[in-house]
Symmetry: D2
Amino acid sequence: MGTGPLPSPPDIVRSAYAELIVTDLARARWFWVDVLGFVVSESAPGVLYLRGYDELTHHNVILTEGAEPAASRLAFRVRTPGDLDQAVEFYDRLGCRTARLPAGNTPGIGAAVRAEDPLGFTVEFFHDAAPAGRLQQRYDLRRGAEVARIDHFNIVVPDVQSAYEYYRSLGFGLSETIEDAQTLYAAWMYRKQTVHDVAFTGGAGPRLHHLGFFAHETHHVLRTCDILGSLHEESHIERGPGRHGVSNAFYVYVRDPDGHRIEVYTSDYYTGDPDHPVLRWDVSDPRRRDFYGHVVIPSWYAEATTVLDLDGNPRPIAEQHQILESSVGADGFRVR
Amino acid sequence: MGTGPLPSPPDIVRSAYAELIVTDLARARWFWVDVLGFVVSESAPGVLYLRGYDELTHHNVILTEGAEPAASRLAFRVRTPGDLDQAVEFYDRLGCRTARLPAGNTPGIGAAVRAEDPLGFTVEFFHDAAPAGRLQQRYDLRRGAEVARIDHFNIVVPDVQSAYEYYRSLGFGLSETIEDAQTLYAAWMYRKQTVHDVAFTGGAGPRLHHLGFFAHETHHVLRTCDILGSLHEESHIERGPGRHGVSNAFYVYVRDPDGHRIEVYTSDYYTGDPDHPVLRWDVSDPRRRDFYGHVVIPSWYAEATTVLDLDGNPRPIAEQHQILESSVGADGFRVR
Amino acid sequence: MGTGPLPSPPDIVRSAYAELIVTDLARARWFWVDVLGFVVSESAPGVLYLRGYDELTHHNVILTEGAEPAASRLAFRVRTPGDLDQAVEFYDRLGCRTARLPAGNTPGIGAAVRAEDPLGFTVEFFHDAAPAGRLQQRYDLRRGAEVARIDHFNIVVPDVQSAYEYYRSLGFGLSETIEDAQTLYAAWMYRKQTVHDVAFTGGAGPRLHHLGFFAHETHHVLRTCDILGSLHEESHIERGPGRHGVSNAFYVYVRDPDGHRIEVYTSDYYTGDPDHPVLRWDVSDPRRRDFYGHVVIPSWYAEATTVLDLDGNPRPIAEQHQILESSVGADGFRVR
Amino acid sequence: MGTGPLPSPPDIVRSAYAELIVTDLARARWFWVDVLGFVVSESAPGVLYLRGYDELTHHNVILTEGAEPAASRLAFRVRTPGDLDQAVEFYDRLGCRTARLPAGNTPGIGAAVRAEDPLGFTVEFFHDAAPAGRLQQRYDLRRGAEVARIDHFNIVVPDVQSAYEYYRSLGFGLSETIEDAQTLYAAWMYRKQTVHDVAFTGGAGPRLHHLGFFAHETHHVLRTCDILGSLHEESHIERGPGRHGVSNAFYVYVRDPDGHRIEVYTSDYYTGDPDHPVLRWDVSDPRRRDFYGHVVIPSWYAEATTVLDLDGNPRPIAEQHQILESSVGADGFRVR
């Protein structure tokens, strides 16, 4: 571990993709591709590369067959090839284990750097990406949720304040929070000009709470639900449709056959101005998690996906170090 | 009471309006007019006449100030003036108390007949109605939920089978049911060519469960919720937004300041064919009440509006005579 | 031909289906099924039976391969089997040639009566219809325009006033007109409780102007256009998307590979009340045909489908007997 | 004028606001505020400051009463206060006249630099901006088109290639073009992560073609049209609703009472990746300007707003130096 001030972080452009371990790839394909309508960019035995209809790089999600459900890495795109060296230096100084991957190690992705970050997640940085066919105006091909692109990673961490400070050191801006005078319960942080690339939910972690995907209109969110009801697969709908107070997103959360949580949402806002102001929600405002005041289903706070270290082993989960939002917020009872 | 076969019932065109007693008319006006966007057709001290933007007759709802919240009558339009005599004869034969009201007794409504029906509700029949200005294409005036017109009355009755048989004798068609081998838990019945003009929910009754209003698109339903969240009045949103399995309606239920329940929905279907088939939902299908499988909030089954007799006195409430849907349906627990 | 007053007309429930002759069934199937998303109820060599997702009877459209594009009949459903005899008597008295067809002559349709009506169209009446699977809640199957059901026939006639009087004698109600002090340029008439089952456009006739199909929301209309653009088949989009002043329908008109015109629309209104008022548009109001004031493309007024007589021969086309709306209306120039 | 390589340009964040001269402020207010629903941030005699519902800085448009309709400046926000000096240096070196404005010269805007740019437009750069109240979640206040924020300036220039090169020197990325082997007919360029902050239409210039405003959903675009039809002000709708091939935007163009052109659109895409690819449309593709293949109304190519120099005098208009897209594109005739 180095000493002195942290070096400049890698210049992160955006959250780009995640790799999820699924226990039955055929069934995962049914859910992600046939039902939700993700585009298959590439496939190989035991692995699928998926993207949304607006995505112009190779993939937003990798589904890899394995013994236990998990999230093996969260990948960020960086602005220049030199940012990879910057990433190694940055994480070295933090005392984090890193690894360099050659181009092509992941199909569609150039040389990459991975690190076990201070929060316990395996994060990846890459610059080069294979282009993908432009499908935004192939309305004839759209199916399911018609997701446009990946938008963000939501992670469960035992200490939201630490997560916030770490991502601030990576150059992320803060768009919204849930807090009270004592505690930061949740935070939304961004590099690209949307509400977030990463968000933190307080709880036993490190775990992946969900992957968030942007769709263009509310009717796409509703269609996702309608299709699941049609197939009598409505039990995959965990929460929503509804609108978040935080971010203004109109959302639904679905769970894939391995329990990985997927948010399909629409309607957040531009955050690119240099003095973009933070929106702070009080933990007692029942609208913060659901603008319509509905109680959040307990599984949404409690359940999340195990994450893997650089060697592919599950990370141990620490209990929360802070009071949980779900125990203090107005979610636990009806206001009426 | 007469004997022999029932006479022909009055030829009912559709559910037309309801009168609700509200305890604070200013606050009711705020909710119905300012928030939900109902059109004020006429007002007088202590009373408001409201309609939707497509409605071409005088009103869909009367809000009358009074001491206790209640529903004083449910009014149906009939095809000819002669149907009023038919109504008197029909209810006389049933042994039900009736009353004739002269034209103008209710502003905008011609001569009317009222009856205390066998289910305990005060129902009204009228033929003549004052025309109302055509506002459908006054998009500049639309606000709130942009409801188009009243669609149906949903009533709570202790014995759904009896309610079904009574409305069948009135010439109503059956569109959908919730049932199992033993019990009819709920039924939807129509005169106009939609899924229903009246529906029955099993429970302590007679009570009014809700008034249903049609809006043209899902975004109108969502806007209703968004406005209530904006005003921090989200506690008025009781249930939804969501889609019903029954009727396919995309719905939200809101409660006015007196607790009167209002459904704003869109997307049901045409039922005008002579052999329109019945859709029967099994009470164990979690999609019947919410196509997305979500648990119905208990208040939705338990709470409803007191109804008044011909003299304006509250009707006594009988406990249910049947097993309640909410105690046998899959609503009480998550499927996942 | 009989004498004396006309007998009671058959009790028509609604416009039910049309048969179109297409010159290349494979290409027609591509357009109607693959692109527009109609459901195939049944197929046989040289013929396809199609319906919308809400339709509960066998078909809304028959596509039959033939040498020249044409519309061979427009079919109405009647309320009782006895209405078939009523139809024979009615058209006999009018001096119109009729034919009786046994059940099964058209798959999915019971016994039928056809007539060469006074306007020169072959119309059919039937009561019995085979039920079709309920697909409204199979959102997983929906594609294309997601049309729900057939709504209306729009026909070109040389004398709109005569067409109006004939359909009035059949018991149709009048919902809207385009007129001036001298001339009735167009009229919309209904049996079911919507704006129309049949409408008349003045011009050389008899010809079929278009078949109108209802979809539930505006985004379905837009999706129809987006798909055609995606496939570089945008030349099939003749007019729209836009909103009609008349009927308030948000519409698009597309032309199939044989030039048959199809309207996909949403958002008209209920017309079931006994005193439903007529909405009369002045021919000089540029909003009557396009609520946004846009000029109607000339082909929309000029082109239409040849219709066949009872023997399958093309009906001769008479030039209009009246001044054409397109020559007097404000459509020919911009208001600005 | 300096020599040698150009200095680094100011670091532009986004297009931020424009000032338009209107001849009747009361009537302009009616159109922009009452009809289109823009938020009034501030007003003073002879001037209005307007913004969209998502905008978090003081204004997106200034409407100033004056003798002749014009656009007096197009303003860009820059990343740091130091970028103002950078702007002066940059334009000095280009030989362009500049002016420094103290903070508060424009309400809500800090110190600014203006320049008469090489294309003949008066552009402004500012860093400091007064915050504005967050209204995104005040759905109760929304009216009209519900525009969220300004998105872009579209300008008419006699030489699109030169405009492209100039904006490239300012650090703008290129998202889409209309071109053929010989000519660049139109180009879309961005700083923020959307399709454009500025776009060029070939024609007599310098003139302002339109201001583009983002709305969240297609129904907001349609509502804009519906309101204008409702008010019998449909002649303000110049073109659309429709979808652009370029940018995928679903659009409508309206003209304010002085003829200033306003685009309300939804649905473009993210352009923030370092290697974002250019989408090049051939000028012969009828979908480039209208994805549905409709002919572009001639006024849309021909008419535009005069621009003013630093002293407030109209800039002389040079005829186009290139073949115009409207004379070579497929817009002039129907494909069918």
